[in-house]
Each structure stands twice: as structure tokens, then as C-alpha cells.
């Protein structure tokens, strides 16, 4: 089989059984793989109404057909499950080397079912799969767990694990791999924790076969040239990492500050990619087969590790009013060790800071570490306590929406579908705001990165305040992103590559016959099955919204001063271009056209 390995590993933790099943190739090609195929499998195998932290939920760790191949950035895997944070379908994506290793071991995906009676980890060496006791790992941070497994498993084993946050069922817990790469969003780490599954160690020895190696060589050269010559993927990201965005986003006045109370941060340059490179960068890091290498490795005092990324710098920085980059690097380090999503963790602390300053949270809850905007110590200490669910940290571990709701002020959480919004104020980027409101996993930037045309001018420059054509742009970006994720490639390639490039890579590796048009249709198919899952889970269009603040309170200062988000004007058009009815429900006709249903 080409691209795909043709095997899915099913592990039942209750029964302690493992089974290898054949991949349904036709279905795989229709839904591409990874995010698409696994969302389809999840939809078929669980009731969308299940409690996400119950044994009935399943966790699918899945690769794309290009994962483990020589395609540029072909090393991604995804965690697909029902999210305990949002109740919606979750697909959290990560790089590093673990995903490729799973393919080398012979599997396209692992489906984890039920719940172990006590902590376990799964050890995979090609076709030898064991469920092992993990009581000695429980409670340990990510780097320590990884180190122990590297010693007790096969040589050069790749380790995926949760930290204490996932064990404690924090709704913002991540799944970590290769120590510092994260499948961060939607609380996928808590699903692993709820199953008493601490880690999965993988070692493989096979290759991924390619359908047409000569054709792949040709398409590969073309794509590599584009990636190298593109200013973003060839220079900006390699030199400065993702934090290169800090200044451009701030200069546009869309850098959310103090929990989105404003959108311009006076001290942005103190926490920028430029400052990071100048003062703290030890080395660059690249994921499997990545020609970009945006990963950072930084050191401050006795702390060193991967990151921080742009989103992290924002969440613990501007969103918390903190301009101390050393403190941000430390908070990032503790997120990685505890297995916490850095966006959600920082944004939740920012929400807590507003709740504190407005008198909802009192000092007697806070162990002497006040949650004031600008308090650098607070972001470090509360991150550690969040990971361990200590004291008030247990409330933070629930995420921003539930925290604000506990104090009767849910409107102070800057969330969509309970997922904390990332680092772009939608009031100054109208298309990007529409994408926040409609993304199937909630308030997310990497389901359709409209920042690219609205701010960066790629592939073409759009007026960021205009509503014209934005619904169509959002749809195309969402569909194309579903393709890239499902193939097992990194979204950052899309600064340089287009739908045609992706279809050619897919065809060369797998022998498929996709075109730019039909691969986008596959992306749309994936988007629609995710949507249907959400509707069945009870998440309807009433949740396609933005926080009240962003719709009603104009940005008070800076280059985007005076703007609110005009969601009401954009949403009907979006439903229309998707071929959905006015309630945001996919029509039968559209589902037939997309071959999701027959007849």
C-alpha cells in the first residue's frame, strides 16, 4: 500500500486487548486520512452525546498518508476525540517525530478505547504491542516521563505522554510528544488521563512506500523551491520563529491586551521574536522532514526547553499585561512540563486577572500571589498550580469559560464554544473573526488562518475591515486547512504552497487522482462531517458567536480604534456559501453533492 500503512491498531484498555484492523482504503482516500478519516471513524464509533471523560469516549491518534514520507513537513499526527473543554469534535495537531515513528511501526492510527483500571502506558515496537503498568510514571512531568521511557523501552523510542494536568483531568490539558511538541488544544490530554493512559512509546522499523517516486521527486523539488524562496517560510519563520508576529500584529492594533480589554500593547517589542532571538535563543529546532524549522529552544536561568511560540508569548504576555519575556519563557516551560495548552492556560490566567481586578475573585483564595495584570510572578506560579490542580489552580484548570462562569461572569471569558481565543483581536480582522465563530473546534486560529490575507497579504492582500467576500475566503481557508491537516503536513507550508501542490504531493505518494478542485471538495467533506458531529452533540448555530465584548465594545485605542466585530452581517452569507440552511445546518442536497450521504 502506498502512503498509508493499511493498518489501524485498536487498543482496549479495560480488556487489555490489542487488535490490528485493516484500513478501509476507499474511505481513507475519500476522507484523505488523519483529521478527516479519524473524524469520520469517531462519528461512526461513538455517540456524539457521550461524556467526553467517560470510558465511552474514544481517543484516536492518527497520521496522514504523507506522514513519514519525504514530503516537506511530512511528520504530523493528530489527536481526534470528543473534547471535554468544548463538547465538540476535537482534532489537535502536533509535529515532532512521534507521528512519523507510528507510521514506521506500521500503523496509520491507534484507536484507544475504554479505561484502564490503573495507570498504564502502551509500548509499540512494530507488531509487538504491550499494555504496561505506568504507576511509576503517574504524577511525573513530561520531560521526566519521557526520559524514563527512553531508558526502559527500545533504543531511539519516540514518546507521547500527558503531564500531571492530563492526569488531573484539566480541561485544557495537552498531549505532549518528543518532550516539547504539543497537541495542545481542546483538552485532549484530559481524555488520555480519563482512560488512565499515561503515555505511548513507539519504535518502528519499516518505511512508507511511495506510489511514484520519480513524480514525487519532481513535485518535491518544486515545493521545496517555493518554500525556500517564500519570505515567510524561507526566512521569517526560520530566523525568528512564530513570535516574529508579535510586532506586526501589535502594529495593526489587533494584539489583544489585558484579556481583550484593549488591542495594543505598548511593550510588545520587549516580548517580540526579535528580542527572543537576540537574548534567549539557544538553538533552532525542526520537526520531522521540515525545511522551515520554526521551533525555538530557549534558556533562562536554570530553565531551558522548546518554545515559546507566538501564541504563548501573547497569552502569557500581552493578554496578561506581562512584558517580562523571561517570565513568559518560564511559564511556557511549565506548561510543557505539566502538559497544559499554552494558549488556554495563559488566556485563563488573563480571565482570572480581570475577575480579580473587578472584585469577583478575592485575595483569600490566592495564596499570596495576586492575579493582577502585569504580575510576572503570577503567570509562573499559577501555571504550576494549574498543572497540579493545587488550591485555586484547580479552578484555573477548568479553563476560562468555566472559571468565569463559577463567579457568575461568563461574559468575561474570551472564548468561542468554550475554547479560549488566540492572539488576534477579531474586531480588527473581520474575516478572521468569522472563522473564530464558525470553527468546528471552537475559537481557533488554525482552522482557517485569515490573518494570512488580511494582515500578511498572502496569497493576496485583503482589506481587513471589509466584509466583502470574507465568507467565501473563510470557507476556502477552512476547507484547505482540513486537507493539509488530513494529509499530515504542517499548516505553515500553506504560506508557500497551494491546493494544486497538495493534490500533486498526495497523488505522487498514494496514486490518487485528486485535482486542486477535488481536493478542496474533500476538505469541504471533512468540514461537514465535523459539523454534523457537533450538531449531534448539541452544538448548533446558537454557539456560532463571539464574546459580547468583541461585538459591542469598540477597541478603545491604537490603529484599530473604534471597531467592533460585525458577525451578524457575515454569518448568514457564510451559511449560504457553505450550502447550509439559515440555521447553519448542512442541507441534504449539499451532503449528497459531497458524497457524505447517498441517494
Amino acid at each position: 500500500m502506498y502512503g498509508y500503512k493499511g493498518k489501524i491498531l485498536r487498543v482496549n484498555l479495560k480488556e487489555k486487548t490489542t487488535k490490528v484492523e485493516e484500513l478501509d482504503l476507499e474511505k481513507a482516500r475519500k476522507y484523505i486520512g488523519g483529521r478527516g478519516l479519524s473524524s469520520k471513524i469517531l462519528s461512526e464509533e461513538i455517540d456524539p452525546k457521550v461524556d467526553p471523560l467517560s470510558p465511552e469516549n474514544k481517543l484516536i491518534l492518527t497520521t496522514g498518508p504523507l506522514t513519514g514520507t519525504p514530503t516537506p513537513t511530512g511528520g504530523r499526527y493528530m489527536a481526534v476525540t470528543k473534547s471535554p473543554l468544548t463538547g465538540a469534535v476535537a482534532c489537535s495537531n502536533s509535529g515532532g517525530h512521534w507521528g512519523a515513528e507510528l507510521k514506521f511501526a506500521g500503523y496509520d492510527a491507534i484507536i484507544v478505547e475504554d479505561k484502564a483500571d490503573s495507570p498504564v502506558y502502551i509500548n509499540i515496537e512494530d507488531d509487538r504491542v504491550e499494555i504496561r503498568d505506568a504507576s511509576h510514571l503517574w504524577g511525573k512531568v513530561v520531560s521526566e516521563t519521557t526520559k524514563i521511557l527512553e531508558e526502559e523501552c527500545a533504543e531511539k523510542v519516540k514518546v507521547l505522554t500527558i503531564g500531571p494536568a492530563g492526569e488531573n483531568l484539566s480541561k485544557i490539558a495537552s498531549i505532549m510528544n518528543d518532550v516539547d511538541r504539543a497537541a495542545g488544544r481542546s483538552g485532549v490530554g484530559a481524555v488520555m488521563g480519563s482512560k488512565n493512559l499515561k503515555a505511548i512509546a513507539v519504535k518502528g522499523s519499516s518505511k512508507v512506500d511511495v506510489y511514484d517516486p520519480d513524480k514525487l521527486k519532481e513535485v518535491f523539488s518544486k515545493c521545496m523551491k517555493k518554500i525556500k524562496e517564500n519570505g515567510v517560510t524561507g526566512e521569517g519563520l526560520p530566523t525568528y520563529g512564530t513570535a516574529v508576529l508579535v510586532n506586526i500584529i501589535n502594529e495593526n492594533g489587533i494584539f489583544p491586551t489585558n484579556n481583550f480589554q484593549t488591542a495594543y500593547f505598548e511593550k510588545a517589542d520587549d516580548i517580540s521574536g526579535e528580542t527572543l532571538a537576540e537574548k534567549y535563543l539557544v538553538k533552532r529546532e525542526a520537526c520531522y522532514r521540515c525545511p522551515i524549522g520554526c521551533g525555538r529552544y530557549c534558556k533562562v536561568d536554570d530553565i531551558e526547553g522548546g518554545g515559546p511560540e507566538y501564541e504563548t508569548v501573547w497569552a502569557f504576555g500581552a493578554d496578561c499585561g506581562v512584558s517580562d519575556l523571561e517570565a513568559i519563557i518560564k511559564a511556557n516551560f511549565w506548561c510543557n512540563e505539566m502538559g497544559l495548552d499554552t494558549i488556554s492556560a495563559g488566556a485563563t490566567i488573563a480571565t482570572a486577572m480581570e475577575l480579580y481586578e473587578k472584585g469577583y475573585i478575592k485575595d483569600d483564595e490566592l495564596d499570596g500571589i495576586p492575579l493582577k495584570f502585569g504580575n510576572a510572578e503570577a503567570i509562573i506560579e499559577w501555571t504550576k498550580k494549574m498543572g497540579r490542580a493545587e488550591g485555586f489552580g484547580a479552578k484555573l484548570a477548568e479553563g476560562a469559560y468555566r472559571l468565569a462562569d463559577m463567579y457568575g461572569a461568563p461574559e468575561l471569558s474570551m472564548t468561542v464554544k468554550k475554547l479560549e481565543l488566540p492572539a488576534y483581536d477579531p474586531r480588527g480582522v473581520q474575516g478572521h473573526g468569522l472563522q473564530y465563530a464558525t470553527a468546528n473546534r471552537g475559537g481557533c486560529h488554525v482552522r482557517g488562518y485569515l490573518i494570512s490575507p488580511e494582515i500578511l497579504g498572502l496569497p493576496e492582500k485583503l482589506d481587513r475591515f471589509s466584509l466583502e467576500g470574507k465568507a467565501q475566503w473563510v470557507k476556502i481557508f477552512q476547507d484547505l486547512t482540513a486537507v493539509i491537516d488530513s494529509l499530515g503536513l504542517c499548516l505553515f507550508t500553506s504560506f508557500a504552497l497551494n491546493a494544486e501542490d497538495y493534490s500533486q504531493l498526495f497523488n505522487a505518494v498514494c496514486g490518487t487522482e485528486y485535482t486542486a478542485e477535488t481536493i478542496l471538495e474533500a476538505g469541504e467533506r471533512i468540514w461537514n462531517i465535523e459539523k454534523i458531529f457537533n450538531l449531534k452533540a448539541g452544538i448548533d448555530s446558537s454557539q456560532d458567536k463571539l464574546p459580547k465584548r468583541l461585538l459591542e465594545e469598540p477597541i478603545p485605542e491604537g490603529p484599530s480604534k473604534g471597531w467592533v466585530h460585525k458577525l451578524e452581517d457575515l454569518l448568514p452569507k457564510y451559511y449560504e456559501v457553505r450550502g447550509w440552511d439559515e440555521n447553519g445546518v448542512p442541507t441534504e442536497d449539499r451532503l449528497k453533492e459531497l458524497k457524505i450521504i447517498t441517494g
Binding site: 530566523t239 516574529v244 508576529l245 520554526c294 490573518i451
Partner: protein, 88 residues
């Protein structure tokens, strides 16, 4: 790219414009400069003064709004210049 760090202000006209530079454009030039221009001068004039190649500027903002190289600058404007940047 020049290694010289400029003495401020540059230009010599009567209209003052603040120029903010980012990433590689800072090399040899610094982060922030005050440029003195004539009425009707444009961002093109500014990059000429600073010895910046047009193709090295991917994003050009005047007061935080996207603008072109031939836009007319006004007293007190802030001009921000970026090479290609991206991330997420």
C-alpha cells in the same frame, strides 16, 4: 545592507515622520527613526533615504493601516516597515 547606525534625524525637511523597522530591516539601522521629509513625500522616499530595497519590504503600514509606496505622508505619521513575516 549597510552596517551604519544612522544619526537622527534623517532627511532634512520640515515634516516629521516616525519610522519603525522590524526583523532584518533593523540590522544597521536600529528599531525606530525620526525622518524629516518635504510635503508630499512618500514611503518610497523613506526607504530610499534608509537604503532599503523595495523588494525587502513586504508589509507597509501608515498609522497601523496597510498602505502603498506612493502614499502621501503627513506630519506625525508612523510608518512601519516589515519584511515577509508569518506564523501562527
Amino acid at each position: 545592507m549597510g552596517k551604519k547606525v544612522y544619526n537622527l534625524p534623517l532627511g532634512g525637511g520640515s515634516m516629521k515622520v516616525k519610522v519603525k523597522l522590524f526583523t532584518t530591516l533593523r540590522e544597521g539601522r536600529g528599531k525606530e527613526l525620526m525622518v524629516e521629509l518635504e510635503e508630499g513625500d512618500t514611503p518610497q522616499k523613506v526607504i530610499d533615504i534608509l537604503n532599503i530595497k523595495k523588494e525587502d519590504v513586504a508589509i507597509l503600514l501608515i498609522n497601523g493601516r496597510s498602505a502603498e509606496f506612493d502614499a502621501k505622508l503627513a506630519e506625525g505619521d508612523v510608518l512601519s516597515l516589515f519584511p515577509p513575516v508569518g506564523g501562527g
